[in-house]
């Protein structure tokens, strides 16, 4: 194990929710896992005290618009969640996060550069970190 470059990250998705396939022209993803904290502070405590509640899971993806692959935008209209798989570095392909997700997408087109796409997702089922 070592610190790896993000250059070889991957984002894979399967609208059927089974076998994710790598999406092209993307260059960034972010996964956020936050757990609700319940305030259980009592009289006499010297500071506020919390206990963990339910974990929330969401994130974002981004890259360039490529008309040969519009999976991200098809996913927006999907009635059922797809399987999303996020790999930090494909040279360590066994390390990844995956799970069912609903996706929203944006496209940002400017005269100054290549049209950029971005998307956000939220869990639609249990997510796993592997291994």
């Amino acid at each position: 194990m070592a610190i790896k470059s993000g250059r070889y990250g991957t984002i894979s998705y399967d609208p059927a929710g089974v076998t994710p396939v790598a999406l092209i022209a993307l260059n960034k993803w972010k996964l956020s896992q936050k757990t609700d904290k319940v305030n259980v502070t009592c009289f006499g405590d010297t500071n506020k005290v919390y206990v963990p509640g339910m974990k929330d899971l969401s994130g974002s993806v981004s890259g360039f618009w490529n008309s040969t692959n519009v999976v991200l935008f098809d996913a927006v209209d999907a009635a059922t969640p797809g399987m999303l798989k996020l790999v930090p570095n494909s040279t360590e392909a066994t390390f990844f996060w995956s799970g069912l997700a609903y996706i929203d997408a944006d496209i940002d087109c400017s005269v100054e550069g290549a049209p950029a796409v971005s998307g956000s997702f939220m869990a639609a089922g249990a997510w796993n970190m592997m291994p």
Binding site: R7, Y8, G9, T10, I24, L26, N27, G63, F64, S90
Partner: protein
């Protein structure tokens, strides 16, 4: 293996050098960075700036800025204005065919117009006219 970025430079030079109207105005030809000694009417192409945009695992976009200008000695009788206009007609929103790449855009971002005093003979002037052109290509 990524395509050869120098092919983008070469394609730009070839496009300009293949235009008979431009060569009629600048008969000494099209050169990268500097023309051979003795030339008095020519076109110069220089790479001013370049940066690459990455996608996961590969280069996604090569974004280059080229200086493209007609250069003429004041005594050579050149129509520098027409030469600059011809360069712009060829490059502004023009297509560039480069092996291993998909053309994205080519357009001017800045005009260039300079008069330079000759280094050896202060009575002579060199006229430079053209522009800086942004060329974006995507490796296939």
């Amino acid at each position: 293996m990524p395509p050869d970025s120098s092919d983008v430079d070469a394609a730009l030079v070839a496009k300009l050098g293949a235009d008979s109207a431009l060569l009629a105005l600048m008969p000494n030809g099209v050169y990268v960075d500097e023309a051979p000694p003795g030339m008095t009417r020519f076109v110069i192409v220089s790479l001013v700036d370049e940066h690459d945009e990455a996608e996961f695992g590969r280069r996604a976009i090569e974004d280059a800025l080229y200086l493209v200008k007609a250069v003429a000695l004041s005594t050579a009788g050149a129509n520098i204005r027409a030469a600059a206009a011809r360069i712009d007609a060829l490059l502004e929103d023009g297509a560039l065919t480069v092996a291993g790449y998909t053309h994205m855009t080519m357009h001017r971002v800045e005009r260039v117009r300079v008069t330079e005093v000759d280094d050896l003979d202060a009575t002579l002037r060199w006229q430079h006219r053209g522009g800086r052109y942004r060329v974006m290509v995507a490796p296939t």
